[in-house]
Subunit: 253 residues, 2 copies
Amino acid sequence: MGTTQLESVPEPKYWHLKTVLSEALDSEFSVGEILPNERDLAARFGVARATLRQALEQLELEGRLQRRRGVGTTVAPPRVGVAVGTEQHAWPGAAGDAWQPVDCDLAAPPAAVADTLGTDRDEPVHTVRRSRTTHGQPVAAELLYVPASSVPDLPAIDAPAGPARARAVLRELQRLEPARQESAVELGSARADDAKELDRLPGAPVLVVTTRYAAGDRTAALSVATYRADTCRLTFGDSGGVEIHHGPHRRAS
Amino acid sequence: MGTTQLESVPEPKYWHLKTVLSEALDSEFSVGEILPNERDLAARFGVARATLRQALEQLELEGRLQRRRGVGTTVAPPRVGVAVGTEQHAWPGAAGDAWQPVDCDLAAPPAAVADTLGTDRDEPVHTVRRSRTTHGQPVAAELLYVPASSVPDLPAIDAPAGPARARAVLRELQRLEPARQESAVELGSARADDAKELDRLPGAPVLVVTTRYAAGDRTAALSVATYRADTCRLTFGDSGGVEIHHGPHRRAS
DNA sequence: TAGTGGTCTAGACCACTGA
DNA sequence: CAGTGGTCTAGACCACTAG
Protein backbone atom coordinates (compact mmCIF):
# COMPACT_ATOMS: atom_id res chain seq x y z
CA MET A 1 0.00 0.00 0.00
CA GLY A 2 1.38 3.36 -0.92
CA THR A 3 -1.51 5.25 0.61
CA THR A 4 -1.24 6.37 4.17
CA GLN A 5 -4.48 5.62 5.96
CA LEU A 6 -4.87 8.64 8.17
CA GLU A 7 -8.42 9.64 9.02
CA SER A 8 -9.62 6.11 8.37
CA VAL A 9 -12.41 6.78 10.85
CA PRO A 10 -13.60 10.22 9.81
CA GLU A 11 -15.25 11.79 12.82
CA PRO A 12 -18.49 13.58 12.00
CA LYS A 13 -18.01 17.32 11.80
CA TYR A 14 -20.58 18.09 14.47
CA TRP A 15 -18.86 15.69 16.85
CA HIS A 16 -15.50 17.29 16.37
CA LEU A 17 -17.14 20.68 16.66
CA LYS A 18 -18.73 19.69 19.94
CA THR A 19 -15.33 18.69 21.32
CA VAL A 20 -13.73 21.93 20.26
CA LEU A 21 -16.57 24.01 21.69
CA SER A 22 -16.56 22.02 24.89
CA GLU A 23 -12.89 22.73 25.44
CA ALA A 24 -13.36 26.39 24.60
CA LEU A 25 -16.19 26.52 27.15
CA ASP A 26 -13.86 25.19 29.83
CA SER A 27 -10.96 27.46 29.09
CA GLU A 28 -12.26 30.65 27.54
CA PHE A 29 -15.76 31.27 28.84
CA SER A 30 -17.39 32.04 32.16
CA VAL A 31 -20.77 30.89 33.41
CA GLY A 32 -23.48 33.13 32.05
CA GLU A 33 -21.35 34.51 29.26
CA ILE A 34 -23.06 34.92 25.89
CA LEU A 35 -21.66 33.04 22.90
CA PRO A 36 -21.56 34.49 19.38
CA ASN A 37 -24.76 33.84 17.49
CA GLU A 38 -25.24 30.66 15.48
CA ARG A 39 -24.68 32.24 12.09
CA ASP A 40 -21.40 33.77 13.15
CA LEU A 41 -20.21 30.60 14.86
CA ALA A 42 -21.06 28.49 11.82
CA ALA A 43 -19.16 30.88 9.55
CA ARG A 44 -16.21 30.93 11.92
CA PHE A 45 -15.94 27.14 11.84
CA GLY A 46 -16.72 26.91 8.14
CA VAL A 47 -19.80 24.71 8.49
CA ALA A 48 -23.48 25.04 7.73
CA ARG A 49 -25.66 26.41 10.46
CA ALA A 50 -27.49 23.10 10.79
CA THR A 51 -24.24 21.33 11.54
CA LEU A 52 -23.27 23.89 14.12
CA ARG A 53 -26.69 23.53 15.68
CA GLN A 54 -26.24 19.78 15.98
CA ALA A 55 -23.17 20.39 18.13
CA LEU A 56 -24.94 23.02 20.23
CA GLU A 57 -27.90 20.72 20.78
CA GLN A 58 -25.65 18.05 22.26
CA LEU A 59 -23.93 20.53 24.52
CA GLU A 60 -27.30 21.80 25.71
CA LEU A 61 -28.39 18.22 26.36
CA GLU A 62 -25.32 17.78 28.53
CA GLY A 63 -26.16 20.89 30.49
CA ARG A 64 -23.21 22.90 29.23
CA LEU A 65 -25.20 25.50 27.32
CA GLN A 66 -28.50 27.26 27.60
CA ARG A 67 -30.25 28.60 24.53
CA ARG A 68 -33.20 30.94 24.49
CA ARG A 69 -35.03 32.06 21.40
CA GLY A 70 -34.77 35.76 20.75
CA VAL A 71 -31.97 36.07 23.29
CA GLY A 72 -28.97 33.92 22.54
CA THR A 73 -26.80 31.09 23.77
CA THR A 74 -25.17 31.31 27.19
CA VAL A 75 -22.81 29.16 29.19
CA ALA A 76 -24.86 27.17 31.69
CA PRO A 77 -23.97 26.89 35.37
CA PRO A 78 -23.17 23.41 36.70
CA ARG A 79 -26.24 21.26 37.15
CA VAL A 80 -28.05 21.67 40.42
CA GLY A 81 -28.41 18.58 42.58
CA VAL A 82 -32.05 17.88 43.41
CA ALA A 83 -32.88 15.38 46.14
CA VAL A 84 -35.62 12.99 45.12
CA GLY A 85 -35.27 10.09 47.50
CA THR A 86 -34.74 11.50 50.97
CA GLU A 87 -36.74 10.94 54.11
CA GLN A 88 -37.53 14.64 54.25
CA HIS A 89 -39.84 14.13 51.36
CA ALA A 90 -41.19 10.90 52.72
CA TRP A 91 -44.67 11.71 51.56
CA PRO A 92 -46.38 14.34 49.49
CA GLY A 93 -47.32 17.43 51.42
CA ALA A 94 -45.14 16.61 54.41
CA ALA A 95 -43.80 19.61 56.26
CA GLY A 96 -40.85 21.25 54.55
CA ASP A 97 -41.09 19.52 51.24
CA ALA A 98 -40.03 21.46 48.22
CA TRP A 99 -43.27 21.36 46.30
CA GLN A 100 -45.76 24.12 45.77
CA PRO A 101 -49.37 23.12 45.08
CA VAL A 102 -50.63 24.79 41.93
CA ASP A 103 -53.96 23.33 41.05
CA CYS A 104 -56.22 20.34 41.36
CA ASP A 105 -59.04 18.70 39.54
CA LEU A 106 -61.07 15.54 39.64
CA ALA A 107 -61.18 13.42 36.49
CA ALA A 108 -60.47 10.02 35.01
CA PRO A 109 -56.67 9.63 34.76
CA PRO A 110 -54.71 8.14 31.87
CA ALA A 111 -55.36 4.43 31.57
CA ALA A 112 -51.82 3.48 32.61
CA VAL A 113 -52.18 5.51 35.80
CA ALA A 114 -55.49 3.90 36.66
CA ASP A 115 -53.93 0.48 36.15
CA THR A 116 -51.10 1.25 38.55
CA LEU A 117 -53.44 2.72 41.12
CA GLY A 118 -55.67 -0.31 40.81
CA THR A 119 -58.75 1.77 40.12
CA ASP A 120 -61.24 1.43 37.32
CA ARG A 121 -60.23 3.30 34.22
CA ASP A 122 -63.21 5.60 34.34
CA GLU A 123 -63.09 6.17 38.07
CA PRO A 124 -62.36 9.85 38.82
CA VAL A 125 -59.09 10.58 40.57
CA HIS A 126 -57.89 13.75 42.25
CA THR A 127 -55.07 15.14 40.14
CA VAL A 128 -52.93 17.57 42.07
CA ARG A 129 -50.55 19.70 40.09
CA ARG A 130 -47.44 20.87 41.93
CA SER A 131 -44.29 22.68 40.94
CA ARG A 132 -40.83 22.63 42.43
CA THR A 133 -38.29 25.41 42.31
CA THR A 134 -34.66 25.67 43.36
CA HIS A 135 -32.77 28.93 43.62
CA GLY A 136 -35.80 30.64 42.12
CA GLN A 137 -35.74 28.54 38.98
CA PRO A 138 -38.48 26.03 38.14
CA VAL A 139 -36.99 22.55 38.02
CA ALA A 140 -39.93 20.18 38.07
CA ALA A 141 -43.64 19.86 37.41
CA GLU A 142 -45.59 17.06 39.02
CA LEU A 143 -48.92 15.37 38.64
CA LEU A 144 -49.97 13.60 41.81
CA TYR A 145 -52.81 11.15 41.35
CA VAL A 146 -54.88 10.45 44.45
CA PRO A 147 -57.87 8.09 44.12
CA ALA A 148 -60.99 9.49 45.72
CA SER A 149 -61.15 6.34 47.79
CA SER A 150 -57.81 7.23 49.40
CA VAL A 151 -59.23 10.41 50.87
CA PRO A 152 -62.85 9.56 51.75
CA ASP A 153 -63.11 12.27 54.41
CA LEU A 154 -62.30 15.08 52.00
CA PRO A 155 -64.86 17.83 52.55
CA ALA A 156 -67.24 17.89 49.63
CA ILE A 157 -68.04 21.51 50.25
CA ASP A 158 -64.86 23.04 48.88
CA ALA A 159 -64.48 24.13 45.33
CA PRO A 160 -63.77 21.07 43.15
CA ALA A 161 -60.63 22.65 41.73
CA GLY A 162 -57.96 25.24 42.42
CA PRO A 163 -54.97 25.56 44.76
CA ALA A 164 -57.12 25.49 47.89
CA ARG A 165 -58.54 22.17 46.82
CA ALA A 166 -55.00 20.91 46.14
CA ARG A 167 -53.98 21.73 49.68
CA ALA A 168 -57.07 20.03 51.07
CA VAL A 169 -56.32 16.84 49.17
CA LEU A 170 -52.70 16.88 50.32
CA ARG A 171 -53.80 17.42 53.91
CA GLU A 172 -56.11 14.42 53.78
CA LEU A 173 -53.47 12.30 52.04
CA GLN A 174 -50.97 13.18 54.72
CA ARG A 175 -53.21 11.78 57.43
CA LEU A 176 -52.72 8.33 55.90
CA GLU A 177 -48.97 8.63 56.48
CA PRO A 178 -48.26 7.07 53.09
CA ALA A 179 -44.85 5.44 52.58
CA ARG A 180 -42.73 5.81 49.49
CA GLN A 181 -42.64 2.43 47.80
CA GLU A 182 -40.42 2.66 44.76
CA SER A 183 -39.36 5.16 42.16
CA ALA A 184 -38.39 4.89 38.53
CA VAL A 185 -36.43 7.38 36.43
CA GLU A 186 -36.61 7.54 32.68
CA LEU A 187 -35.96 9.95 29.85
CA GLY A 188 -38.89 11.71 28.24
CA SER A 189 -39.78 14.86 26.40
CA ALA A 190 -41.84 17.63 27.92
CA ARG A 191 -45.51 17.85 27.08
CA ALA A 192 -46.78 21.31 26.18
CA ASP A 193 -48.17 22.03 29.65
CA ASP A 194 -45.09 20.83 31.50
CA ALA A 195 -42.83 22.70 29.11
CA LYS A 196 -44.64 25.93 29.86
CA GLU A 197 -44.25 25.44 33.59
CA LEU A 198 -40.56 24.57 33.20
CA ASP A 199 -39.91 27.57 30.96
CA ARG A 200 -38.81 25.36 28.08
CA LEU A 201 -40.09 24.56 24.63
CA PRO A 202 -42.32 21.52 24.14
CA GLY A 203 -40.26 18.43 23.51
CA ALA A 204 -37.41 19.53 25.76
CA PRO A 205 -35.65 16.56 27.37
CA VAL A 206 -36.88 15.76 30.85
CA LEU A 207 -36.27 13.15 33.51
CA VAL A 208 -39.55 11.57 34.50
CA VAL A 209 -39.64 10.28 38.06
CA THR A 210 -42.54 7.97 38.84
CA THR A 211 -43.12 7.20 42.52
CA ARG A 212 -45.72 5.02 44.17
CA TYR A 213 -46.95 5.73 47.68
CA ALA A 214 -48.66 3.12 49.81
CA ALA A 215 -50.77 3.29 52.93
CA GLY A 216 -51.30 -0.08 54.53
CA ASP A 217 -51.28 -2.60 51.71
CA ARG A 218 -52.82 -0.47 49.02
CA THR A 219 -51.55 2.21 46.69
CA ALA A 220 -52.57 5.56 48.14
CA ALA A 221 -51.14 7.82 45.46
CA LEU A 222 -48.96 7.96 42.37
CA SER A 223 -46.61 10.79 41.55
CA VAL A 224 -45.30 11.54 38.07
CA ALA A 225 -42.71 14.29 38.32
CA THR A 226 -41.05 15.88 35.30
CA TYR A 227 -37.59 17.39 35.89
CA ARG A 228 -35.63 19.57 33.48
CA ALA A 229 -32.93 17.23 32.22
CA ASP A 230 -30.66 20.06 31.14
CA THR A 231 -30.35 21.71 34.54
CA CYS A 232 -30.95 18.92 37.06
CA ARG A 233 -28.94 16.15 38.60
CA LEU A 234 -31.26 13.92 40.61
CA THR A 235 -29.78 12.64 43.86
CA PHE A 236 -30.87 9.58 45.79
CA GLY A 237 -29.79 8.63 49.27
CA ASP A 238 -27.85 11.16 51.32
CA SER A 239 -28.73 14.55 49.95
CA GLY A 240 -26.05 16.95 48.84
CA GLY A 241 -24.77 14.45 46.42
CA VAL A 242 -21.77 13.48 44.42
CA GLU A 243 -19.85 16.33 42.90
CA ILE A 244 -18.87 15.32 39.42
CA HIS A 245 -18.51 17.93 36.76
CA HIS A 246 -16.89 18.32 33.39
CA GLY A 247 -14.15 20.78 33.96
CA PRO A 248 -13.28 24.16 35.38
CA HIS A 249 -16.21 26.44 35.98
CA ARG A 250 -15.64 30.12 36.36
CA ARG A 251 -18.17 32.70 37.33
CA ALA A 252 -18.99 35.64 35.14
CA SER A 253 -17.62 38.79 36.67
CA MET B 1 -62.82 41.89 15.79
CA GLY B 2 -64.14 40.33 12.65
CA THR B 3 -61.24 37.92 12.26
CA THR B 4 -61.57 34.49 13.75
CA GLN B 5 -58.33 33.58 15.47
CA LEU B 6 -58.08 29.90 14.75
CA GLU B 7 -54.60 28.39 14.65
CA SER B 8 -53.24 31.30 16.62
CA VAL B 9 -50.66 28.88 18.01
CA PRO B 10 -49.47 27.00 14.94
CA GLU B 11 -47.99 23.73 16.11
CA PRO B 12 -44.63 22.89 14.50
CA LYS B 13 -44.98 20.27 11.80
CA TYR B 14 -42.60 17.83 13.43
CA TRP B 15 -44.55 18.03 16.66
CA HIS B 16 -47.83 17.27 15.00
CA LEU B 17 -46.10 14.54 13.03
CA LYS B 18 -44.80 13.02 16.23
CA THR B 19 -48.30 12.90 17.67
CA VAL B 20 -49.73 11.27 14.58
CA LEU B 21 -46.95 8.69 14.43
CA SER B 22 -47.25 8.00 18.12
CA GLU B 23 -50.92 7.21 17.79
CA ALA B 24 -50.30 5.05 14.75
CA LEU B 25 -47.67 3.18 16.74
CA ASP B 26 -50.22 2.41 19.42
CA SER B 27 -52.98 1.32 17.13
CA GLU B 28 -51.49 -0.03 13.95
CA PHE B 29 -48.09 -1.46 14.73
CA SER B 30 -46.70 -4.30 16.77
CA VAL B 31 -43.46 -4.40 18.72
CA GLY B 32 -40.58 -5.24 16.42
CA GLU B 33 -42.44 -4.30 13.27
CA ILE B 34 -40.48 -2.38 10.65
CA LEU B 35 -41.70 1.06 9.61
CA PRO B 36 -41.49 2.35 6.04
CA ASN B 37 -38.17 4.03 5.32
CA GLU B 38 -37.65 7.71 6.04
CA ARG B 39 -37.89 8.86 2.42
CA ASP B 40 -41.22 7.11 1.93
CA LEU B 41 -42.61 8.32 5.23
CA ALA B 42 -41.59 11.89 4.48
CA ALA B 43 -43.25 11.72 1.08
CA ARG B 44 -46.37 10.18 2.56
CA PHE B 45 -46.74 13.05 5.05
CA GLY B 46 -45.69 15.68 2.53
CA VAL B 47 -42.72 16.97 4.51
CA ALA B 48 -38.98 17.14 3.99
CA ARG B 49 -36.97 14.23 5.23
CA ALA B 50 -35.25 16.40 7.84
CA THR B 51 -38.62 17.30 9.34
CA LEU B 52 -39.71 13.70 9.44
CA ARG B 53 -36.42 12.81 11.09
CA GLN B 54 -37.01 15.40 13.82
CA ALA B 55 -40.20 13.57 14.75
CA LEU B 56 -38.51 10.16 14.65
CA GLU B 57 -35.67 11.41 16.84
CA GLN B 58 -38.10 12.43 19.55
CA LEU B 59 -39.92 9.15 19.40
CA GLU B 60 -36.62 7.31 19.67
CA LEU B 61 -35.68 9.49 22.65
CA GLU B 62 -38.91 8.44 24.30
CA GLY B 63 -38.11 4.79 23.70
CA ARG B 64 -40.92 4.23 21.20
CA LEU B 65 -38.71 3.55 18.19
CA GLN B 66 -35.40 1.97 17.47
CA ARG B 67 -33.38 3.00 14.42
CA ARG B 68 -30.37 1.21 13.04
CA ARG B 69 -28.27 2.41 10.15
CA GLY B 70 -28.39 0.12 7.18
CA VAL B 71 -31.35 -1.74 8.63
CA GLY B 72 -34.34 0.45 9.28
CA THR B 73 -36.70 1.77 11.94
CA THR B 74 -38.56 -0.64 14.17
CA VAL B 75 -41.13 -0.33 16.93
CA ALA B 76 -39.32 -0.62 20.26
CA PRO B 77 -40.50 -2.86 23.10
CA PRO B 78 -41.50 -1.15 26.36
CA ARG B 79 -38.54 0.04 28.36
CA VAL B 80 -36.96 -2.51 30.62
CA GLY B 81 -36.85 -1.71 34.33
CA VAL B 82 -33.32 -1.85 35.69
CA ALA B 83 -32.77 -1.88 39.42
CA VAL B 84 -30.02 0.50 40.50
CA GLY B 85 -30.62 1.03 44.18
CA THR B 86 -31.40 -2.33 45.72
CA GLU B 87 -29.68 -4.11 48.55
CA GLN B 88 -28.78 -6.97 46.22
CA HIS B 89 -26.25 -4.70 44.62
CA ALA B 90 -25.11 -3.27 47.90
CA TRP B 91 -21.53 -3.18 46.77
CA PRO B 92 -19.61 -3.77 43.58
CA GLY B 93 -18.71 -7.36 42.99
CA ALA B 94 -21.14 -8.72 45.57
CA ALA B 95 -22.50 -12.16 44.79
CA GLY B 96 -25.25 -12.13 42.21
CA ASP B 97 -24.85 -8.61 41.00
CA ALA B 98 -25.63 -7.96 37.39
CA TRP B 99 -22.26 -6.68 36.31
CA GLN B 100 -19.65 -8.44 34.23
CA PRO B 101 -16.02 -7.35 34.66
CA VAL B 102 -14.48 -6.51 31.32
CA ASP B 103 -11.14 -4.93 31.89
CA CYS B 104 -9.00 -2.99 34.31
CA ASP B 105 -6.12 -0.63 34.29
CA LEU B 106 -4.18 1.57 36.64
CA ALA B 107 -3.90 5.23 35.77
CA ALA B 108 -4.60 8.76 36.92
CA PRO B 109 -8.37 9.36 36.72
CA PRO B 110 -10.14 12.47 35.45
CA ALA B 111 -9.58 15.39 37.81
CA ALA B 112 -13.21 15.48 38.94
CA VAL B 113 -13.05 11.83 39.94
CA ALA B 114 -9.85 12.34 41.90
CA ASP B 115 -11.46 15.25 43.72
CA THR B 116 -14.45 13.16 44.74
CA LEU B 117 -12.27 10.25 45.82
CA GLY B 118 -10.13 12.61 47.81
CA THR B 119 -6.93 11.47 46.12
CA ASP B 120 -4.25 13.52 44.48
CA ARG B 121 -4.99 14.27 40.86
CA ASP B 122 -1.94 12.41 39.63
CA GLU B 123 -2.32 9.47 41.96
CA PRO B 124 -3.00 6.27 39.99
CA VAL B 125 -6.38 4.65 40.53
CA HIS B 126 -7.59 1.21 39.54
CA THR B 127 -10.20 1.69 36.85
CA VAL B 128 -12.40 -1.35 36.46
CA ARG B 129 -14.57 -1.50 33.39
CA ARG B 130 -17.77 -3.51 33.71
CA SER B 131 -20.79 -4.08 31.55
CA ARG B 132 -24.34 -4.94 32.41
CA THR B 133 -26.80 -6.84 30.26
CA THR B 134 -30.49 -7.65 30.58
CA HIS B 135 -32.30 -10.17 28.42
CA GLY B 136 -29.11 -10.52 26.41
CA GLN B 137 -29.01 -6.83 25.53
CA PRO B 138 -26.29 -4.50 26.79
CA VAL B 139 -27.85 -1.81 28.95
CA ALA B 140 -24.99 -0.18 30.79
CA ALA B 141 -21.25 0.39 30.79
CA GLU B 142 -19.52 1.32 34.03
CA LEU B 143 -16.21 2.73 35.12
CA LEU B 144 -15.45 1.86 38.72
CA TYR B 145 -12.65 3.89 40.25
CA VAL B 146 -10.85 2.26 43.15
CA PRO B 147 -7.93 4.13 44.73
CA ALA B 148 -4.89 1.91 45.18
CA SER B 149 -4.98 2.85 48.85
CA SER B 150 -8.41 1.21 49.16
CA VAL B 151 -7.00 -2.18 48.21
CA PRO B 152 -3.50 -2.26 49.70
CA ASP B 153 -3.37 -6.04 49.84
CA LEU B 154 -3.91 -6.46 46.12
CA PRO B 155 -1.30 -8.95 44.89
CA ALA B 156 1.28 -7.09 42.87
CA ILE B 157 2.14 -10.22 40.97
CA ASP B 158 -0.87 -10.34 38.66
CA ALA B 159 -0.93 -8.74 35.29
CA PRO B 160 -1.58 -5.00 35.70
CA ALA B 161 -4.53 -5.09 33.36
CA GLY B 162 -7.20 -7.36 31.92
CA PRO B 163 -10.35 -9.11 33.20
CA ALA B 164 -8.45 -11.23 35.71
CA ARG B 165 -7.05 -8.09 37.27
CA ALA B 166 -10.53 -6.60 37.35
CA ARG B 167 -11.82 -9.56 39.31
CA ALA B 168 -8.89 -9.34 41.71
CA VAL B 169 -9.59 -5.67 42.41
CA LEU B 170 -13.29 -6.37 42.96
CA ARG B 171 -12.43 -9.22 45.31
CA GLU B 172 -10.24 -6.99 47.42
CA LEU B 173 -12.77 -4.18 47.38
CA GLN B 174 -15.45 -6.57 48.55
CA ARG B 175 -13.45 -7.43 51.66
CA LEU B 176 -13.94 -3.85 52.82
CA GLU B 177 -17.72 -4.33 52.77
CA PRO B 178 -18.22 -0.89 51.28
CA ALA B 179 -21.60 0.76 51.77
CA ARG B 180 -23.49 2.65 49.08
CA GLN B 181 -23.55 6.28 50.12
CA GLU B 182 -25.52 8.23 47.56
CA SER B 183 -26.32 8.16 43.88
CA ALA B 184 -27.00 10.83 41.32
CA VAL B 185 -28.74 10.47 37.97
CA GLU B 186 -28.28 12.86 35.11
CA LEU B 187 -28.63 13.01 31.37
CA GLY B 188 -25.54 12.73 29.20
CA SER B 189 -24.42 11.61 25.80
CA ALA B 190 -22.41 8.48 25.19
CA ARG B 191 -18.69 8.80 24.70
CA ALA B 192 -17.26 6.81 21.82
CA ASP B 193 -16.11 3.88 23.98
CA ASP B 194 -19.36 3.61 25.92
CA ALA B 195 -21.37 3.91 22.73
CA LYS B 196 -19.53 0.96 21.25
CA GLU B 197 -20.21 -1.17 24.28
CA LEU B 198 -23.88 -0.16 24.31
CA ASP B 199 -24.27 -0.83 20.59
CA ARG B 200 -25.21 2.76 19.88
CA LEU B 201 -23.70 5.64 17.98
CA PRO B 202 -21.52 8.14 19.83
CA GLY B 203 -23.63 10.91 21.30
CA ALA B 204 -26.60 8.66 22.00
CA PRO B 205 -28.56 9.82 25.06
CA VAL B 206 -27.61 8.02 28.24
CA LEU B 207 -28.50 8.18 31.91
CA VAL B 208 -25.34 8.58 33.95
CA VAL B 209 -25.57 7.14 37.45
CA THR B 210 -22.80 8.22 39.80
CA THR B 211 -22.51 6.30 43.06
CA ARG B 212 -20.12 6.72 45.93
CA TYR B 213 -19.15 3.79 48.13
CA ALA B 214 -17.67 4.22 51.58
CA ALA B 215 -15.81 1.93 53.92
CA GLY B 216 -15.53 3.31 57.39
CA ASP B 217 -15.37 7.06 57.04
CA ARG B 218 -13.57 7.27 53.74
CA THR B 219 -14.60 6.91 50.10
CA ALA B 220 -13.58 3.44 48.98
CA ALA B 221 -14.73 3.63 45.38
CA LEU B 222 -16.65 5.68 42.87
CA SER B 223 -18.87 4.20 40.18
CA VAL B 224 -19.89 6.03 37.02
CA ALA B 225 -22.42 3.91 35.15
CA THR B 226 -23.79 4.83 31.74
CA TYR B 227 -27.24 3.42 30.91
CA ARG B 228 -28.95 3.49 27.52
CA ALA B 229 -31.62 6.14 27.97
CA ASP B 230 -33.73 4.85 25.10
CA THR B 231 -34.24 1.35 26.45
CA CYS B 232 -33.91 1.70 30.23
CA ARG B 233 -36.11 2.76 33.09
CA LEU B 234 -34.01 2.99 36.25
CA THR B 235 -35.76 1.78 39.38
CA PHE B 236 -34.92 2.70 42.95
CA GLY B 237 -36.28 1.10 46.07
CA ASP B 238 -38.29 -2.10 45.73
CA SER B 239 -37.19 -3.74 42.53
CA GLY B 240 -39.67 -4.70 39.88
CA GLY B 241 -40.85 -1.18 39.67
CA VAL B 242 -43.73 0.96 38.64
CA GLU B 243 -45.47 -0.03 35.46
CA ILE B 244 -46.23 3.08 33.51
CA HIS B 245 -46.32 2.97 29.76
CA HIS B 246 -47.65 5.00 26.91
CA GLY B 247 -50.38 2.92 25.47
CA PRO B 248 -51.29 -0.53 24.17
CA HIS B 249 -48.37 -2.71 23.32
CA ARG B 250 -48.86 -5.66 21.07
CA ARG B 251 -46.32 -8.30 20.24
CA ALA B 252 -45.24 -9.00 16.70
CA SER B 253 -46.65 -12.32 15.60
C1' DT C 1 -25.01 -4.15 -4.77
C1' DA C 2 -29.25 -2.09 -3.34
C1' DG C 3 -31.40 0.00 0.41
C1' DT C 4 -31.19 1.95 4.95
C1' DG C 5 -30.31 5.62 8.30
C1' DG C 6 -26.53 9.37 9.31
C1' DT C 7 -24.33 13.63 7.95
C1' DC C 8 -24.10 17.96 5.58
C1' DT C 9 -25.25 22.06 2.77
C1' DA C 10 -27.22 26.69 1.53
C1' DG C 11 -30.63 28.66 1.55
C1' DA C 12 -35.66 30.54 3.42
C1' DC C 13 -39.06 32.05 6.63
C1' DC C 14 -41.10 32.24 11.40
C1' DA C 15 -41.54 33.31 16.57
C1' DC C 16 -39.74 35.53 20.05
C1' DT C 17 -36.98 38.98 22.83
C1' DG C 18 -35.46 43.34 24.15
C1' DA C 19 -34.02 48.04 23.15
C1' DC D 1 -37.32 47.47 15.23
C1' DA D 2 -33.07 44.50 14.54
C1' DG D 3 -31.21 40.28 16.15
C1' DT D 4 -31.73 35.81 18.11
C1' DG D 5 -32.77 30.91 18.03
C1' DG D 6 -36.50 27.56 15.95
C1' DT D 7 -38.47 25.40 11.89
C1' DC D 8 -38.40 23.80 7.22
C1' DT D 9 -36.91 22.65 2.48
C1' DA D 10 -34.71 19.97 -1.39
C1' DG D 11 -31.26 18.40 -2.47
C1' DA D 12 -26.33 15.60 -1.94
C1' DC D 13 -23.13 12.20 -0.35
C1' DC D 14 -21.48 8.82 3.18
C1' DA D 15 -21.39 4.54 6.32
C1' DC D 16 -23.41 0.60 7.21
C1' DT D 17 -26.17 -3.82 6.63
C1' DA D 18 -27.79 -7.67 4.40
C1' DG D 19 -28.95 -10.51 0.44
